[in-house]
Amino acid sequence: MKVTVNGTVLELDPGTSAIDAVFAAGFDVPYFCSQPYMSPIGACRMCLARIGAPRKERDGSWILDESSGEPKVFYFPAMMATCTTAIMEGMVIDTLSKDVKDAQNAMVEFTLINHPLDCPVCDKGGACELQDRAYEYGTGRSRFVFDKRHQEKHHPLSALITLDRERCIHCKRCVRYFEEVPGDEVLDFIERGGHTYIGTLEDGLPSNFTGNITDICPVGALLDATSRFRGRNWEYDHTFTTSLDDASGSAIVVDARTGRIERIKSGLNPEVNKSWIDDGIRFGHEYADDPERLKRPLLRRGEGFEEVSWEEAAAFVAERLAGFSGKDVGVAIRADATLEEGVAARALAQHVGTGQLDHAPRHGPSLVPLHGATVLDVATADALLVLGDVTEELPALDLRIKDALKGVSPPELFAHGVPIADLRLKERMPRASERLAVVAPYRVDLMKYAGAAVQVPVAGEAAWLQAMAAVAHAQPADEAVLGMPRAEAESLVRAWREAQKPIMIVGGFVLASEAATEAAASLAKAVGFRQVLVPPMANGVGLEITQVLPSHARYDYQGMLGGSAKALVLSNLNPAVDPAVAERLRSCELLVVHDLFLTETARLAHVVLPGTSGYEKDGTMVSLEGRFLPVRAAPVDAGEARDLTGVVKALGEAFGQRLEGRSVRSARRVLRKELGFDPTELHRLGLLRELPRRRAIVSLNVRETVVGDSLRVPSLARPEYLGRNAHLRAALGGPALRLHPEDAAARGLRTGDEVVVPVDGVPRRLEVRVSDAVPRGVSLVPATPEAPAGPAAVALDDLVHERRALEVA
């Protein structure tokens, strides 16, 4: 459609909003309530413009202007909000005339009358849309001489978010956000008119995605509590990188100041996380700044450690390693290491000549499905079967599933980016819940949005999948196993088969079991699902395709711990939380631990090397959909900490060898050969690649457990760091033992009680949380990198009560 903006003529697709037309034409118009990826509502009235359009005669021809002979432009009698006006053929938009300027001045003045203008003490100062717009579109003076509205200034909406009610300009972005994006309506306007304010009755904003409102708040009303009063916006160094907290590949911006991380904001990646991240990613960074971080290498001296230089530490390791036959050495790294670190670990193993190389946690089966789907496919799927608890396991996927339920395809991008006002998005859109089926061993959050929700018994996924496959093949199936009448199962299968884009999302409960994974693949084949497999950690896919894998199943991580390795190099792994493993590690002849903290395992080590957090290294990760994404180091002070490439460099120097992967750059030379592209050149939004499937490594990696009737469950907060992420911990509570109310009552347990209970033989300190989302007879405990999601044995009979919760009045 032809549109003229301030004299500039351009062609745009029908459905485009006038505000996007203005930006597309290269002009600016101020706005407060519109927000990319959310519905335009026309509330702030900041984006007003004079708009006209030609009209047609009854016979369909244009009414012509007598003098020019051109279609006559009829201006609307009042100014129009450009964000809620769709373009029309021949529309004329004027944002520069005096009338428009006057209206903009007036709207700025109205907006400011009740705004405290406390910019000098406001965290948003320098990055405030109101500040900017007032400067650009205001008159610079206010004629409002009265006392401003007084409201609460430091209201803790939750442990993570602080609200200043005086600063709020009622754009409704935050309120709409909760309804439109996660679908958790935990924030609303209270009162009306001039008294309207935002508030909640929900204790602590129960949603996994609360922090995004601090990004979209145009003013300093909603602030990230972890960074409040910590710095001014212009002092921050912004590092655009990728989160290594999960395998979503979510874009993040790390804001650092004078060498420390102050906050994390969502980055923009339209095909991955749009502009949303979960609270685990956003608020889970405080550990990186923990005073207990290891800053220098440590060498064991008797019962204690001595700080040494990297050279000394490396020389010690090199000398000791020389005493082992290569094949007795084991190298294991945590599955959130970068590709470059993987190359380094591989080079180290090659150099010493061992096949004992692995990353953990790792599932037995490959993470590269036969017929994979992308995150964007999920967002546009018309049938989804979710196996597990994605809201906790990979929250970014939860939001894209909810996109699919809205059924609005991702917007075309403009030169100015994501449409500011996508007119297809509406407040309170209907969600096509019938598109979603969720299967999990307890009541997971996503079931609220699902047309079909099945609660299977613990480890019952395989049976359920087989039963559904049987239904798909018109074979008999047990309704008790299906969890629904056969007719319903049949109609589900029919819907899946008829769908254009049916997708199955396979979470950790299924991947933990070979049989269940196979059953999932068979069902996928039977009805035509493409699969998305959820890796247990950020770079599981990447480390798999770079072959950071054992030469034989018995040399996997569990094998190494079980005794196949006499000398062990562990990066960011802490198996000694299990006292039995600790016992074995004590007799390990050489234990080298590379970690951020002096963990239980590090305490047993001969050498401890200080490691970097995911914000402090450069590298590459591969997300669950096979997207290669850059990881960039933020300018923070990590002492002498090095990532694995640094470790390998130091060791290589001590060996007198130039090992591959002794720097990010040298690792990339290798990767370039193997991948066919240079990761150095990766765009911020990443590169999607077809991935090779690896040969099945029947693995012991998933720790062999007495299959209990309980479950280790995923959590959006990294359990290994929860204790050091003070704000996140305050919001989520400590690691939880979740029980059904009756089970809790039977043992006299109440929410808030602190207990120590053996989980697969490992005593764990947990906080009781009573919840009817848990089935009777099942205990839910957090999965850890050492013991990822899957069935567990929780010995409630051996539970020790450490501290009882306070009585509620």
Binding site: I190, R192, G199, L201, E202, G204, L205, R769
Partner: protein, 194 residues
């Protein structure tokens, strides 16, 4: 997900009113269950003269909503109260037509007589005073709404008599007034504007 601290338990309002509850829910189509929100708030407001947070949570539970949403709706309206109003909730219209008929003086009179300011309830919980906007009784102004009942053409003497009656815990029947040429009684009975 964060943990909710359980609130102190109170007997649910609708525990013994299941029939009434079903009747209200049944008024609306299945997909419009949320429409029952205002009627449910009304039920509680009328019975308890306010809607407490526990009731807000209960209604949210019934309708499958978050308590925040119920609160957002409830607080939008002028006639659901967070704190109990008195047994006689006096609502005085002070909008233009009533004002022209003496409503401001009537309001002052009530403040003085009851020793209340706008928005207050007396310590015995008998009277509350609230200023409200046009009640659609402009032709029979000024109007005083007591709980749900209109008293129109409230003159000083009528107002006094009304207060006396309420102090004795009786509420007289309202007079039926229509104004114009639709007066139910003789067209020239007491009244007209002052």
């Amino acid at each position: 997900m964060s943990s909710r601290q359980p609130l102190p338990t109170v007997t649910p309002f609708f525990a013994d009113k299941q029939e009434r509850l079903s009747e209200i829910l049944a008024r609306y189509p299945e997909y419009g269950r949320r429409s029952a929100l205002m009627p449910l708030l009304w039920e509680v407001q009328r019975a308890e003269r306010h809607v407490s947070e526990a009731r807000v949570e209960e209604i949210a539970e019934i309708l499958g909503l978050h308590a925040t949403e119920v609160k957002g709706v409830m607080s939008f309206y002028g006639t659901y109260h967070e704190h109990p109003v008195g047994r006689y909730h006096l609502q005085v219209c002070r909008t233009l037509s009533c004002s022209l008929a003496g409503a401001d003086t009537l309001a002052d009179f009530l403040e003085d007589e009851l020793d209340l300011v706008n928005g207050e309830t007396d310590p015995e919980g008998r009277f509350s005073l609230q200023y409200v906007e046009c009640l659609g009784s402009c032709g029979t102004a000024p109007v005083l709404q007591v709980n749900d009942t209109y008293f129109e053409r409230v003159s000083r003497s009528r107002c006094r008599a009304l207060l006396d009656a309420m102090r004795r815990d009786t509420l007289p029947e309202p007079t039926l007034e229509r104004g114009g040429d639709n007066e139910p009684n003789a067209p020239d009975q007491e009244g007209g504007a002052a």
